[in-house]
Amino acid sequence: MNDFAAKVGLTGEQLEHLLAILVRNTVILIGIISVAAVMTLVERKVSAWMQFRHGPNRVGPWGLLQPLADGVKFIFKEVVVPNGANKALYVLAPALAAVPAMMTIAVIPFANDVVLFGKNWGPLVVADIDIGILYLLAIGSMSVYGVILAGWASNSKYSLLGGLRASAQMISYELSMILAILAVVAMAGSINLREIVESQAHGGSIADWNFWKQPLACFLLLVASFAETNRHPFDFAECEPELVAGFNTEYSAMKWAIFFIGEYSAMAVMSSLSVILFFGGWSIPFLPDAPWYLGFAAFLAKTSVYLFLFVWVRWTLPRFRFDQLMRIGWKVMLPLALVNLLATGAWLTFFGPPGAP
């Protein structure tokens, strides 16, 4: 290995570092795509159970290979480009919807310092940057371009209306989402996601989780993340009874599937973000010194619960009306988020940051 490193003009340590980055990033990227695949099955299974049905159970044991069968089907289906569509944008839009969701996963810390082969490889995160939340929010907002461009480029009324609604909704809810997150940031004193987790993990008890200190912010973030990911009860972008399928009406085959990979990836990112901000990320209650793999498992478990909540809410609640959506966004969520931030700021000013003596 050292010989090879010398040939490419690197020290052995540099090469090792490079390889570690490659392996880690590949694992995380493949992980997020398979989460999207598994979520399509979970969505169908849970919805079926809630309606006294069995759900897909023909492909593989209990239908576990259904996502694979769907994937093969999507690849072999015909890509139809409608007449009069703006072809370049039409092709670009699915990628624009899916790529931001996958980019934002970069700053999500999955676990504490990975110790493998007797060496500390650093925390399990693609990019441990100091402006984690800022990056996540900035890139995450880009996915609205994918939706509105899909609506615009399809040359279809339904798609255009779906895209318009999606953009209006995402802009409205982004505001209260950011304000809710800000309250947590103010308490943790950092916008590095790893440090936010560590601020909740050091005590090793549930009481350190931000959820107990910021229940309102947690709730606001939950509602806003439903709206941000275009999920029920806010899925106006693909409101079936009014808009056929909304922005993806004219899409078919793998292009259509990429929209859904994007949607489920965004769900996974929002769930991870909520877990990191409010439920202590990889920390395990009463086990402050747990090894990294247990922490990773705990993180996955917490995120799965959140993802199940997304599916659960979708198959329980009816869709709001669009004016109700706007009213809740601007007249309920935003004032609540502002008051919450104000109260947090006042508390911090008068009583000092939590954990300080």
Binding site: W49, M50, F52, R53, H54, W312, V313, T316, L317
Partner: protein, 199 residues
């Protein structure tokens, strides 16, 4: 004019959230309840004597079918699925079908042929599954339509029981007035048996 009185919503109902939690708890509980889907190919269909499947020609115990190729089922068939060519035979009945085809792709399983048949030759079986690779293979001829009477026992008994209900019963009241002058013999059981139901 109907005035719909709107129910006054309580505070918890107007706050959405408690009601949402209630809804969520309901869907969660329902997840574990018994599934009502029937897993069809593994779980066979429930078939009773009332099941009206594809029509079949009953083979009597002497190995012959009862059909005399009268053409009543052909005439009754609303989908024109039945085609019969009659012919003569040396049997005491003298007539039998040379060709009796039912196009199963046309058959709508209405059971009119069963009702029309005066000889109890055709009955609706409990066979419902129908699949083949060509249309021609789904035009069933006599050999394909034959079913031993033993296999159709339940349906035959059921149809007979239904028919017995009106065979010897008093005539429908609507006809009484019109047929009143011949009332003397119209009420005899033999005359009632000859008259088709509600004609």
């Amino acid at each position: 004019m109907v005035i719909v009185k709107r129910k006054e919503l309580s505070l918890s109902e107007r706050l959405y959230v408690p009601e949402i939690v209630r809804g969520l708890s309901i869907t969660f509980r329902k997840m574990f309840e018994k599934k009502i889907t029937r897993q069809y190919p593994e779980e066979p269909l429930v078939k009773t004597e009332v099941t009206r499947g594809q029509p079949r020609l009953v083979v009597k115990d002497d190995g012959a079918i009862a059909c005399v190729s009268c053409g009543l089922c052909e005439a009754a068939c609303p989908a024109y699925a039945i085609t019969i060519d009659g012919g003569e035979t040396d049997r005491p009945i003298e007539r039998e079908p040379k060709r009796f085809d039912i196009d199963m792709l046309r058959c709508i399983l209405c059971g009119f042929c069963e009702e029309a048949c005066p000889k109890d030759a055709i009955f609706m079986s409990d066979e419902l599954e129908l699949a083949d690779y060509s249309r021609q293979a789904l035009v069933y001829d006599i050999e394909k339509l034959k079913r031993p009477a033993a296999a159709m026992r339940r349906r035959i008994e059921y149809v007979n029981r239904i028919n017995d209900r009106w065979r010897d019963a008093p005539r429908p009241p609507m006809l009484v007035g019109r047929d009143a002058p011949h009332g003397a013999h119209a009420h005899s059981p033999a005359a009632a048996a000859q008259r088709p139901h509600a004609s």
